[in-house]
């Protein structure tokens, strides 16, 4: 049975931990709100770009842009988006699990790995796998430049014929409580056939549809990756907030239990002493 003083010390240490988790919870909830706003702010941009892409591919149905070309898949590129810091609940382990299931049962040479975030990189190191390209240090505050950089790398490899498919693996933000690891195909781009039948309006193009398309596609890829980065950032912060809320609650519960225990032990000590004094006094009579 631990002494009253030991229990007291334990209570103090748990209180300290609780303060830290509480602070982290507060910080991540503020940053989550900002990240969510940013993720939402890209929606109109994405929408317009998709609309433009659709109208373009409707205008030139048989377009053979190199980014459209389907090849036999010998090597697949995965862009894995993870986080730099831990203490975010299952966020990183979900990404790691997905990554392992992608790599499993395949020779290492069949996949090309682009990894962002320190956590997945460290995990791969533990498995003795070296990512082909990595970029770290921005997971919870990505900007468009990071997305452009990743897109350029993936597009280069695709156009050079080193990889035949590119997938983006990121965590989709549903709410602060639920985030889902998602995989989307980036390359080759599948020209979307618009559901609206027939050319609704005749568009003019400057300089011409082919050239506009070839400048639009790279930016479209940038955009998809940027969206993935923002979603992942929001998910990371959401997961961290939930995890830290849980940790703070648990610490509170633990403190309560320990306090009850402490009082019991203290009470027992007092009773004990009283009995001793009374019996001592009785012996003297």
């Amino acid at each position: 049975m631990p002494s009253a003083r030991e229990i007291n010390r334990r209570i103090k240490s748990v209180t300290n931990t609780q303060q830290i988790t509480k602070a982290m919870k507060m910080v991540s909830s503020v940053r989550l709100r900002r990240a969510q706003e940013r993720a939402l702010a890209t929606a109109p941009f994405t929408e317009k770009m998709e609309g433009m892409l659709q109208r373009l591919s409707a205008a030139i149905p048989g377009e053979n842009n190199p980014l459209f070309i389907q090849r036999d898949v010998k090597r697949t590129c995965y862009i894995i988006i993870g986080s730099d810091k831990g203490l975010a609940g299952a966020f990183n382990s979900n990404i790691n699990k997905e990554m392992v299931s992608l790599l499993k049962n395949k020779p290492r040479s069949a996949s090309y790995l682009i990894v962002t975030g320190r956590k997945p990189v460290d995990y791969l190191k533990h498995l003795r796998i070296t990512p082909d390209y990595k970029q770290t240090g921005f997971s919870d505050k990505p900007n468009f430049g990071h997305a452009q950089n990743l897109a350029r790398k993936a597009t280069e490899e695709f156009l050079a014929g080193n990889v035949d498919e590119v997938y983006l693996v990121y965590t989709k933000f549903k709410s602060a409580l639920s985030q889902v690891v998602t995989q989307t195909k980036l390359l080759p781009i599948e020209p979307s056939v618009s559901e609206k039948s027939g050319p609704s309006e005749e568009y003019l193009f400057a300089p011409d549809a082919g050239q506009v398309l070839s400048t639009l596609l790279p930016q479209y890829i940038d955009m998809v990756i940027y969206n993935g980065l923002l979603q992942s950032a929001a998910s990371e912060l959401g997961a961290r907030m939930t995890a830290m809320t849980g940790a703070t609650d648990n610490a509170g519960e633990l403190i309560e239990k320990l306090t009850v225990h402490y009082n019991k032990v203290r009470q027992a000590g007092i009773t004990n002493e009283l009995t001793e004094i009374v019996s001592g006094a009785n012996a003297l009579q």
Partner: protein, 140 residues
């Protein structure tokens, strides 16, 4: 000039925000194959833009936005510009632009082996554009 009172809606959207959302009477941009002037009632159009200032006229006054490439779509009575980066003259950070110009120039002069020439050129162009617009239209 267009009849006064007739306007077209101009929207400039970047991945992070809508930079401009207003009614204008005239827009001048530079597409890959040359300048385009757009007035109210323009036919539907999609164009790729160069790194060049976008000039618009509102209430008889000309104003300008830095547009670092991107696309323009005219549909109905709306012009939508989507671009990775756009800045109003007042938002331009002149110091940053000067620094990035110096950096790009240095990179182009050194001619290192693994230099990505197109990228350095584009970065230089963006910096020059910002500096130019900031001087002309009074940045910070």
């Amino acid at each position: 000039m267009a009849e006064t009172g007739k306007t077209i809606h101009l929207e400039i959207i970047t991945p992070d925000a809508a930079v401009l959302n207003t009614d204008v009477s005239f827009v001048l941009v530079r597409a890959l194959d040359g300048d385009l002037g757009i007035m109210p009632g323009h036919a539907p159009l999609i164009a790729s833009l160069r790194i060049w200032p976008l000039v618009y006229e509102k209430d008889g006054k000309r104003n300008c936005v830095c547009v670092a490439s991107g696309f323009l779509e005219v549909n109905g009575n709306t012009i939508t510009v989507i671009t990775p980066a756009a800045e109003l003259p007042a938002d331009i950070d002149l110091d940053r632009a000067e620094r990035s110009r110096a950096r790009a120039e240095k990179r182009l002069q050194e001619k290192k082996e693994n230099l990505d020439e197109a990228r350095a050129q584009a970065s230089l162009k963006r910096a020059l554009l910002r500096i130019d617009v900031a001087h002309k239209y009074g940045g910070k």
